[in-house]
Structures are given as C-alpha cells and as structure tokens.
C-alpha cells in the first residue's frame, strides 16, 4: 500500500485534536438547528401562500420557492454575508455587518425554506378537503383547523422527505467555514495548516460527518415510524 493511503487511514492525528474539532462540530449543530427552525417557519409561511385562494399570494409563494430552491447555497451564504449588509447599509444610511453565524443561518434557512415549502404544500394538498370541512362544521376557526387537523397529519406524511432535507441541510452547514464560522470543517482547515497533514484530518472529518448524519437520521426515522403509522393502520 502506498504511503499516502496508509497515512489517510491513520486517524490518530484527528483524535489528538478531538476537543477543538468537537467544538467545531458543535457549531455545525448550532447552525443546523437555527437554520432548520428558520427554514421550517419560512417554508410553512410560503406553503400557506401557495395554497391561498388569492392568486397574488400564490404567485408570491411561487416566486419565493423558485428563487430559493434554485439558488446555490454557497452563493447564498456569500451573498448574504457580503452583499446584503451593503444593500441594507445603503438603504438605512449606516454601516451594517452580519456576524458570520447570523449570515449562515439566514442564508441556509432561506435556501432550505424553498424545499420545505414544497414539502409542506404537497402535504397540505394531500389532506382530504373534508377533514377541514368537518372542523369548520364543528365551529373551529381556520387557525385551529390548521394547527389541530391539518398540520399534525402533514408532519407525519412529510417526515420521510423532511428527514432527507434535514440531512442535506446538515451537510450544507459545512460551507459556513467559508465565511469563518468556526465549524468542524473550519477547524480541520486550521489544524491542517499547522500540521501539514491533510489526509488524516479531512478523512476524519468526512467519517465524522458520515457517522453523525447516518446515526441521527436513522434514529429519527426509527423513532418516528410507529408514531407515523398509527394513522394508516
């Protein structure tokens, strides 16, 4: 076996730096959870626009979905971090700067809101109209129907697809290192510059992401299975 290959398999260097790397991974988690919360909230709002009776709202929802679904997340992160503050600054007439963490959450949150909007919309449209009518006939308000009748079913139906999107989102958090959010990837790059041994470090990072994502996604899938299947007998 070649020297390089052996070197890439020896992860002791990665282990030596485990504490700093773990801190990096924690940053991935912060970005992930914040961006996911934003993506779900904005995605739901956009989905509700897309199923609205008025075409103006539907059109606004469609524009939102198309813009953010078709924007590369890397460019969005850079744009939000470097361009958006300039635009806002010019508009408000003062200097504005975003913390890299904030830029990352906004950019990834909005990009993924485009995907979640479509998942929510498909889920909402898959619920028979009669379920909402039954609520209306009982005197429930539109908001009560949404919260108590529609969304609990939508969440169960969209969960498998949503898990895939959460996985993509977690993977996308690695690009925030580009604007100096100290995530795992960022830390790996820093350590690499000191140690000059990229193979074990990048390999270790790749394996870490794989293990974390694989375990988390499997656990969520397994935990939600029973709960989801109650409604389908």
């Amino acid at each position: 076996m070649s020297q390089a290959l052996l070197e890439s398999l020896d992860l002791s260097l990665f282990w030596e730096y485990r504490q700093v790397l773990l801190r990096g991974l924690a940053f991935n988690a912060y970005v992930f959870f914040s961006a996911a919360a934003l993506a779900l909230a904005v995605g739901l709002a956009a989905a509700l626009l897309r199923v609205n009776r008025s075409w103006v709202f539907r059109w606004a929802g469609t524009v939102h979905v198309e813009v953010f679904r078709n924007a590369p997340d890397y460019i969005m992160v850079v744009w939000v971090h470097f361009v958006l503050p300039l635009l806002l600054g010019a508009l408000l007439g003062r200097r504005i700067e975003f913390h890299p963490f904030v830029s990352s959450v906004i950019a990834l949150g909005f990009v993924y809101s485009g995907y979640f909007a479509e998942t929510f919309r498909a889920g909402i449209q898959s619920i028979p109209l009669g379920h909402a009518e039954a609520g209306r006939a009982c005197g429930m308000s539109d908001f009560q129907i949404l919260r108590r009748v529609i969304l609990p079913q939508v969440v169960r139906r969209m969960l498998p697809e949503a898990i895939n999107q959460f996985v993509s989102l977690f993977k996308a958090t690695t690009i925030v290192s580009l604007i100096a959010v100290p995530d795992l990837m960022y830390q790996v790059t820093m350590v690499t510059q000191q140690e000059m041994r990229p193979l074990p470090l990048y390999t270790g990072a790749a394996l870490t992401y794989f293990v974390v994502i694989y375990l988390a996604a499997s656990a969520v899938r397994a935990a939600s299975e029973r709960w989801r299947n109650k409604i389908t007998a």
């Binding site: 006939a137 009982c138 009560q144 108590r148 169960r156």
Partner: protein, 253 residues
C-alpha cells in the same frame, strides 16, 4: 328554549357561476322532527344542506336558526366569519365520507371541538365524549384510531363527534352512501334512535325505507327546487308529481 323553528330556510338560491344549483328553496323544520331530502344526484340536496350550515355561501335567501339569520347581523349587514363559526356549532354535520381526523382516536375526534371551540375542561369534555360514544354504541372503541374501525363504526364516531357539540339540529349528508350494504344498518339504527330521542334532523338520503319510517316530512328535490313535499305516507304512497313518481319507481320496485 326559543319558540322559533330550529331551522327555517327562506328562498335559498345558490349559483356556481352560470349554473343554478338551488332556485329558491323554502321550508321549515319543527323542533324534534326529522325531515328527509330525497332526489336524484344533481338535484341540489347536498348543496342545500351545505348552504344551511354555510359550508357553501348561498347566493341569496336566508337560513334562520331559532329565528336568528345565519348570514346577516340583526342590525343588518353581512355576518363576519367569526360569528358564522359561532353559529355553525349549533348544527352538527355528518358527511358521506365520515371525515374523521385519522391522527386522533375515536374519543379524540369527539372531544376536539368541545375542548377547543366550546372551551370545556378536559375532564368535562371526556365525560361528554364518552356519553356521546355510548349513544352510538362505541364505548369500547374510544381509544382506537379511525384506521382500525370499520366504515360503519367510523360513521358512528362521526355522529358522536357532531352530537358532542350539543347542536340544536343535526344535518346528515348521505351518511350511508359510501358504506357497504351490510354496514348501513348499524348507522341507520343509531339515526333512528336519535330521532326517537327527539333530535331535530335533516337527512339527505337514498335510503327510502329510512325516509319513509323515520321522518315526519319528506322533501323531493328536483333541479334545485322542492318539487314535492309531504308526510312520508303521502309522498311515498301517492306522489302527486310525475317526476317524483318516476324517481320513486326506480327505488321502490
């Protein structure tokens, strides 16, 4: 209790675009009585029922609940959605497709509106829910999800759900039409019991036997109008209109 009829429908019309589905329907339901509506599909029966509790907004005409107009405020002007929601709870609705909420148990379905709309405590709502499930003979299924219930059981839970709002009248929209024939009996039985208990009911149905024996009056709808109405003995025994005779001959032969 008010003296006015629980439901009075006056000159109700409904257009869907150029299509006139209801062309001026007027009738009244006495307290504690059952009115059955029969007629061919497309005659406007379901639309009429849905206009009564305003799942459809009538194009003109009015529905009065115990004398109070559904669509207009006492002082004039249209009633806002919030108030319509509040009035709507006085009418229990049972749908052809049951429309149970699949993520809630039978009891969960029944207590949802009492909890959220009427604001009952959980304890009171559960007690009421159990009582309503008992009335449809499904006490032992309280904890089951709809997917585990037969069609007839699901429809009985849906009836319990409507009863739990303690409505002034119950509206049934072809409650047995999507059931296998062997399951219609249990639903009709529950409806007969409700009628015997003095529940005010409007029933859109193709079950002529039920209409004949359980209702005080029968309306035959044709083309968005009441073509003929009367007590069941008269309407089934000696229908006056030719269309009604033709319609009934298809069912009663």
């Amino acid at each position: 209790m008010s003296d006015a009829a629980p439901i009075r429908v006056v000159e109700l019309r409904k257009n869907f675009g150029p299509l006139e589905v209801l062309r001026g329907v007027t009738f009244e339901v006495r307290r504690g009585s059952v009115v059955s509506m029969i007629g061919a599909s497309g005659s406007g029966k379901s639309t009429l029922l849905r206009c009564i509790n305003r799942l459809e907004t009538p194009s003109s005409g009015e529905v009065y609940l115990e004398g109070e107009p559904m669509g207009a405020r006492p002082g004039g002007g249209p009633r806002p959605l919030r108030e319509i929601n509040r009035m709507r709870r006085n009418l229990g609705m049972v749908f052809q497709q049951f429309n149970l909420w699949p993520h809630m148990t039978a009891l969960g379905n029944v207590i949802e509106a009492p909890l959220r709309v009427r604001g009952l405590s959980r304890k009171a709502a559960v007690a009421l829910g159990e009582e309503c499930l008992a009335r449809v003979h499904l006490s032992e299924k309280a904890g089951e999800y709809p997917a585990k219930l037969s069609g007839g059981q699901q429809q009985r839970v849906a009836i319990a759900r409507a009863l739990a709002m303690q409505p002034k009248a119950m509206l049934f929209d072809e409650p047995t039409s999507s059931l296998d024939p062997e399951l219609t009996g249990e639903v009709l039985q529950v409806m007969r019991e409700l009628a015997a208990d003095g529940t005010t009911m409007i029933v859109v149905t193709h079950e002529m036997a039920f209409a004949r024996e359980a209702s005080e009056r029968v309306l035959f709808l044709h083309n968005g109008r009441i073509e003929e109405e009367g007590p069941p003995e008269q309407l089934f025994g000696a229908p006056k209109s030719e269309r009604c005779r033709q319609f009934l001959s298809k069912y009663l032969q």
